[in-house]
Structures are given as structure tokens and as C-alpha cells.
Symmetry: C2
Subunit: 514 residues, 2 copies
């Protein structure tokens, strides 16, 4: 552990107020301009790149930085934030900052959005054709390496265990396929969900759990319960394309709120929008491992968001398909801060337990009766057998063991993919560093169109990616793409990312030559 790590004297600009600190070899670097905190952060980056501060090392405390460099509290704090934002440091609660796992080479973090300007006015969503075109084109190349999805490879889910439980249930319950199921869900499954909600920081009675066909149906029901065609719904930007399709299919307008790749929806931008625009019928948020950014809202932001929506009387719909894939277990749901039933919680087992069970659920606070009515009218109860299987996975502890393993694997896959992207993608690329899940958000160099990358990667390289154009009703993310890491890292994946990086480099060069 290196408590006093700092750049050596030779790295510091002449005339700076930064004092040298002993204990590290000199790391040479270019002379820098810009504000003091940026210059100091750049020096520390070089120290870390050179390996003088290694992954897992404790980073100097703010007080140590103040003392060692003779800088103000504000400057020292900004140095830490700057390095954290760029993915060099991670904050651990009550322990300070630590150096994150180093990469062979690094790419800067994806840009933070502007949050102090008023978000652009809401628009009707007209995205379905664009998304359908992408999906139709994907389907013409079914053998492409799939780095465009958001679901882990089948081998990462507990297939044998699930099939064995399903087979046993079929043997044990002769009327499993021939009897009508229970309204709103199977008792044991609703019980299991009720117990499990405690780890997300809230309580829900089994009777208030309504089982759905994935979180997709849950979010549909939530929106149908609180909004009418023509209404405006505030969503994250970028957002999961499935949400945009739901809004389009319901004739709702999307108000895209800037969202940080690190800490999620900008509460301040939402506040501005709520104060400026007429009536916002609902806010839809993925607070944990946002798709496509992978951001996680810190607790303070979650609390502020719930309070803001409560103050304005706006229903807050949270979509939680990924929470249990976070590196840190037991993240809290927004529902944990709900005091007046204003939060509608939607969750799914598709990504975390089994894509083939198509199980989700909803608990809808003040709109519980209306959501129950809508679900009954829309598709009746879910099949019983997937609920029995999932309930037994949860009750036996097998689900928790599976999750621990899945998290570890996804982290390894994600970090190996990120390393490869850093190695192979050209300068000008920026990369998100989510703390869980299996997707990475990539900003491409200036002038490179993700739609172009998508098409050429599929046709020429046999690689499927998700172009940024899918994640907004605007063209705001035409230069971004979502890359996923669904399977254990392999030479084939390494090679695919190498070829993808080369393609991006060619397109970047062509754009620079225009």
C-alpha cells in the first residue's frame, strides 16, 4: 500500500504550487496546460500508467494531496473526481480512493453529458422502423459473432439445474400443464420475490407482486396505468431501445434527460424539465446498470430522484432487469426510498437467471389495482411452471450461488473485452467502465458513424454490434455503440475486437481525410 504516492518533481510544471513527494521514480511526460487540478491529475495518470501506483493500491487521501502539493481542498477533491471519472480510481465507502485495475493501454472515459441546460422538448417516438431495419439485417447474418445483445451466453445460466427442477415439477404435479394458473402469479414464486425484495431495500407483500412476461410487459403495464396516448414521459438518454419502442407503440412522447455514464439520470436536468415543461406523465429510469451505459445511481441520487418525483406528484417507474449483475451485490432499488406509493417497480429474471423462462414482475404502489386490471385484461396470468422453477431456485439458495458466479464471470469477461478495446481501437475512442453487467458503451472517434460500423462489421467481419442510433429518438448517439461481452473471453473474441478496432480506425481515417 502506498499512502504517499504522488508525481515526482520533474513531472510538475514550472511555477506550479505543487510540492514533490518522495517515493516514486520520475515519470516523464509532455508539458501540460489547463487548470491546476487537470495538470495534477495528468501527472498521476502517468504515475499509474508507469505502474508506480498499481491496481488495488490506495490513492493518496485528499488531505495527503493538500499537504503534499500545497493545494486547496477544492483542487485536491477535483483531482480525485477527475481520475475517478476517467476510470482510474474507484471510491470505496469509508475507505477513500483506490487505483482500479490497470489496462495495457487505456482509453478515456465516455463523456459526461451537459446537465445544466434544459433538455430538448419531448418528441413522439418514431424509431421502430430504424430498429426493425437493424434487427432484420442482423437476422440475415445469424452466424455473426454476437456482440450486440444484452443477454449472457446460454452457458452462463444454470441450465442443468433449471431443467432438472422443471422435470421434477412435471413429474410431481400432474396438472401442471392442464390446469388454469393462479391469477397474478404462483403463490410460492410471489413469496420468494417478496422475501428477495428485502435485499433491494424494500418490502412488498406477496399479494402485491404481479408476475409478468419479463420486465418489458411490466413497463408496458406501468406506462398504460399512468399515461395516455399523447402524454410526455421522461426517460434516460441514451435509453434502452425496447423502452423507446414501448413509448412508440403507446403513442407517448419521449423527453430525453441527460444521463451520466457513471451515476445515471441527471436529477438536476430532470428538475429543470419538470419546472419548465407542462405535464410529465411519468419518469422511467434504470437506476442500476443502466442500459446501454451501465451506470449505477449512487444512493444519494436515488433518494433525490424519488423525492423530486414525489414533490411533483409524477409517477416514477423503475426498470430493474440488471441490478443483480452489479459487481457490488445488494444495490438498492428506487423503491427503497418510496414513501407514498409513487414508485412502480418492474423487474425481470431474463438476464439474471434464465432468458427462456420469460419471467418478470411488477409492484405498482398507488396504481396496483389498475395494473392488476390491465395485466388480467392484457394476457391473464403467466404459465405456472416457470414460476415454480424460479421459486425453487431462489428458495434453495441455488440462485444466489449462481449469481455470485455469474457476477465474477461477467466482470472478467467485461474487463478482458475492455482491455482488448483499449488495445485495438484507435485514438479518439472513449470507453465506459461500468461496474457490473455485460455491456460497454463506446464513443467512436470524430466522424465515425456507428450505423456504418454496424453494417460493415456485420457484412464484412461477421460481427454484430448495437449502433448508438438505436438508443435515442434523436441522432445524438450516432457516434456511439454498445458492445457486449456475453461469453468467456477467447481468442475468437480477441480477434473480433481487433478486426472491429481496425474497421473503426479505417473509418476514422477516412473521416479525417474528408
Amino acid at each position: 500500500m502506498t499512502l504517499s504516492a504522488s508525481p515526482s518533481e520533474t513531472d510538475l510544471d514550472a511555477g506550479s504550487d505543487l510540492a514533490p513527494v518522495a517515493g516514486h521514480a520520475s515519470v516523464s511526460g509532455p508539458r501540460q496546460d489547463g487548470p491546476l487540478y487537470q495538470r495534477l491529475a495528468a501527472q498521476y495518470r502517468r504515475v499509474m500508467t508507469a505502474g508506480a501506483l498499481k491496481a488495488g493500491d490506495r490513492f493518496p487521501s485528499v488531505r495527503a494531496l493538500m499537504r503534499q502539493h500545497g493545494v486547496s481542498l477544492a483542487t485536491a477533491t477535483r483531482v480525485c473526481h477527475e481520475l475517478e471519472d476517467a476510470g482510474w480510481l474507484e471510491a470505496r465507502p469509508r475507505s477513500g480512493y483506490f487505483v482500479r485495475r490497470q489496462r495495457g493501454a487505456t482509453l478515456p472515459a465516455v463523456a459526461e453529458p451537459e446537465t445544466s441546460a434544459l433538455p430538448a422538448a419531448a418528441q413522439y417516438v418514431g424509431l421502430h422502423e430504424r430498429i426493425s431495419a437493424v434487427i432484420a439485417m442482423q437476422q440475415r447474418y445469424p452466424d455473426a459473432m454476437n456482440l450486440g445483445g444484452a443477454t449472457a451466453a446460454p452457458a452462463l445460466y444454470p441450465g442443468e439445474r433449471l431443467q432438472s427442477l422443471a422435470t421434477k415439477a412435471l413429474r410431481r404435479e400432474p396438472a401442471l400443464l392442464t390446469a388454469v394458473g393462479a391469477d397474478h402469479g404462483h403463490a410460492a414464486f410471489r413469496q420468494a420475490i417478496s422475501r428477495r425484495a428485502l435485499s433491494a431495500g424494500f418490502t412488498v407483500a406477496p399479494a402485491d407482486v404481479i408476475v409478468t412476461h419479463g420486465a418489458i410487459e411490466a413497463v408496458n403495464l406501468a406506462l398504460r396505468a399512468v399515461a395516455q396516448a399523447g402524454d410526455t414521459v421522461a426517460i434516460e438518454s441514451p435509453a434502452f431501445f425496447g423502452l423507446l419502442q414501448i413509448l412508440e407503440s403507446l403513442g407517448l412522447r419521449a423527453l430525453e434527460i441527460p444521463t451520466s455514464p457513471r451515476h445515471g439520470l441527471s436529477v438536476e436536468a430532470l428538475e429543470l424539465a419538470l419546472a419548465s415543461y407542462e405535464r410529465i406523465a411519468a419518469v422511467v429510469v434504470v437506476p442500476n446498470l443502466q442500459n446501454p451505459l451501465g451506470s449505477i445511481m449512487p444512493d444519494a441520487r436515488k433518494a433525490a430522484l424519488v423525492a423530486l418525483c414525489a414533490r411533483h406528484g409524477v409517477p416514477l417507474i423503475e426498470d430493474e432487469p440488471y441490478r443483480e449483475l452489479a459487481d457490488t451485490p445488494s444495490l438498492k432499488a428506487l423503491k427503497a426510498w418510496d414513501r407514498d406509493g409513487g414508485v412502480i417497480h418492474c423487474a425481470s429474471f431474463n438476464k439474471v437467471l434464465a432468458p427462456g423462462l420469460r419471467l418478470g414482475w411488477i409492484t405498482a404502489g398507488r396504481w396496483q389495482a389498475r395494473v392488476a386490471m390491465l395485466k388480467f385484461a392484457q394476457s391473464r396470468h403467466n404459465e405456472t411452471w416457470p414460476q415454480i422453477v424460479a421459486a425453487e431456485m431462489i428458495a434453495s439458495g441455488a440462485y444466489d450461488r449462481h449469481l455470485a458466479q455469474l457476477r465474477t464471470r461477467l466482470r472478467a469477461q467485461r474487463e478482458a473485452c475492455a482491455d482488448a478495446i483499449c488495445r485495438y481501437f484507435p485514438p479518439g475512442t472513449r470507453l465506459g467502465t461500468p461496474e457490473g453487467g455485460l455491456v460497454l458503451w463506446v464513443e467512436l472517434p470524430t466522424g465515425v458513424s456507428s450505423q456504418r460500423v454496424f453494417e460493415r462489421a456485420l457484412v464484412e467481419e461477421g460481427i454484430r454490434v448495437a449502433p448508438g442510433t438505436m438508443f435515442s429518438n434523436s441522432d445524438r448517439y450516432a457516434h456511439c455503440m454498445r458492445l457486449s461481452c456475453p461469453a468467456p473471453f477467447s481468442a475468437a473474441i480477441d480477434d473480433a475486437l481487433r478486426r472491429l478496432g481496425a474497421l473503426v480506425a479505417r473509418l476514422a481515417n477516412a473521416a479525417a481525410g474528408d
Copy 2:
């Protein structure tokens, strides 16, 4: 076979123009007033009640009636229609009329609706609370004998075969529960449906089959594709309460079109409505074994309905959960007459194959792309497993064998229940005689409220029925109820119907005493 059966001379009114015919014993009866055809029909009823004409006997032809009674063609034809409407005769194509199976005692057929008056203007549906109250009350008596549903008992479905196919599929396909399924449905299942549609009189390419969560989701998607909140939708009256709930949940208005217990939706009443009311966004019909009436539209009516809707450019949505439960196999769907893609066909395997698979499908003609989009946005693809099981049932021929058996059983159950109702229910009761399925529509004696029967039957007798108030947005069917025959007839069912009949008799007496 008795070709020349007719009432004997003594049964005929003095001064009538009806000539006696030899061959039958005199059957005494009260002197009758009313038009000639009614008096003649009444005489034939007495002949049949006395057993002089027995079940299966050929009824005199129209020409024979004309000759024997010296009546006009119009009168002779009306006699046959009157007796057919009342359930005494059945028409067999190209063979004339035959005496239906006689009952120990008979009840008159449920009344035919008035079809020449303009249907009442469309109303927003506000039925959910009424239906919820019924369902909630049912749930407080879970052990009641269930004569209120529309699904056969689990034992009537091929449970063992289904579970065995499911188990084999689980063993054979290791990623069955862990892989994402195919958009819009599993290929083998869509293929099986495509082949099977031929027996309903139409062709559909596998690519145009969209698999849904039962017909409920299919009808939802169909209505969402063609109508907006506030629009008017023409439906049958009485209608399946689930359809009324769908309309309510989508903010649609219901225009209730008179529907015959024998031959379904009144095409003439619909035509009147289309000519008189502003814009009807869609027509929803259950052409085969309508729920709750059990009516089957004759082919000529089906053709006329499709042509009428095509002429007016109104989307025609057909809901087909029951067709394959008809006594006559291979009834045609409305889709068989569709020439311009104006018919949206919705079907389900819940009632015919397995309530626990929750499988339905839709093919949407001109609205195919929109329905595909809505389904994707609403709940994505269905689970793969049930589709594999159903596809294998169909492909192996096991489904057809099951259906043949199920039809026979349901017919026996239905007729035994109808007999019991005839034995036990008081005068003033009228009873439908559907040619398939498992539900019977019962009109109660004057002054008897079906809601009252429902409540007292449940609380006092432990019997669940479906009150007529569930089947219309109006109170038009407050004096009707739907009784189902889900299980093989037994002493317990006989006893339940006896007690139910006694309850109705007590309520009828009380009403008469008011």
C-alpha cells in the same frame, strides 16, 4: 324413420285448414291461439313430447307438411324454423330436419334477440369492478363446485402426453430455458399452425403467424392495431367478459350487437349500426361456439359478415378459442372468406389442448406489421418450451386424437347437464342448446336476478356459476347465467344442479309473490 309424422286430428284447432295425417296416436293438449304456424308447431311439440316422433327420426319435409296440412310453403317453412329455433329439430345439410335428442323434460330455447331495431349507441365499458367483485367473491370459496368457468377439467386434457413431451424436450435441448427464443415464435410451432389453418378454410404462411399469450393477448394486439382510445368497437351481445375488460382497459367504447343463441352475431343488426353510427373502428366476433351463447354462425352468415365489413372497410377481428370443440369438426373461420386482408384471426390452445401452456396466435392481414411491432414492444417472444410441446402434439397426430375424444366427452357432459337442468329448473327457465363446447346459457324465470343466484349458490350451496351481468356493459342479461359442464357428469354434479334448480325456484316464487 317416420316420414309422415304429424299431429293427429284431435290436436288441431277447429276451423283450421290443417288436414289430419294417419300414423300417430292422439296427443291431447290445450287449445291454442295465435298464428297458424305456431299452432301447428305446438301440435308437433306435443307429438314429440309424447314420443310419437323420437330422437333421430326424420321430421316431415316441407312439401309433406304442405300436402298433409294444406298449408302454404311459407307456413310450412315457419313451422320447421320455429321448432328448430326451440331446439326440437336440427337441420342436416341436404337431408332435411331431424328430431333432436329428446330430454326427460324439456325447457324452451333461450329467446332470439330483436335484430331489426338499431342497436343502442356505444358506451364506454365500465365493467371491471363488477367482474372483479364476482371474481373476488369466487376466490373466497375456492372449494365450490365450479360450474362458472369456460375451461374443461384438467383430466380432460392430455396431461401425461404433454408432460412426457415436455420432459423429452428438456432432455434433448440443453439451452431450452437459457437461450433467448425466436422473435414471433418457434419455427416448428408456426409451421404446425400454418398447416392446421387449412382445416379452418384458410392459408397462412408460417412467417405470418405471431405466437401470443393466449387469444387474450392476440385480441388485445388486434384492437391496439386498429383502434385508438375513444373509438367504438362493435361486439356481440352477450359477449365474453374478457373482451369487455379489454375494451375497458384500452378506453374503447362497446357497441353491443344482438346475437342469436343459434347462429351468432346478427349481420342485419350490424349493417344497421354501420349505416347509422359514425365510425366503427372494428368488429369483434366469436364465430364458432360464441361465449357465452355457444352459437355457431352458418357459413352463409360468415360470408355475409366478412363481405359487409369489407364493404365498409371495417377491420373484422375473429376470436377463435373454441372452434375445435364443436360437435362438427372442421368448421370454417371467418378468415376463410377474407379477400383483402381485412380479417384479423386470433386463436388459442388454452381450451382445446392445454390451459397451462398459455399459447395463442394471431395473423393480422393488412395489420400484420403493426401487430408484429406491438407484440415485440408489449411482451417480446413467447417461451419456447410450450411451443415445442404443442408443435409435437400437432405433428404426431396426438392432438387430433385428443380432440376427437374431448369433443365426445364434452357432448356427453353437456347433454347430461342440460337434461339435469331440464329436470330440476322451474318453469319459466329457458335453455340454450349449443352444438359443442362446455357452456350452457340459461335464461332464468321472470324476476330472478342472476347476481342473486350467483351469490346464494356460492355462499349457501357451494356452487359457482357465472352471472349474466358479466357478459354485457348493460343490465340486459341480469336474468341470465352461464353454466358450464367441465367434468364428466356425476352424482355430485346432478345434486349440485338439483340444488341450483331449487334455489332458482325459490327465488322465482319469491319474485312471483312480490
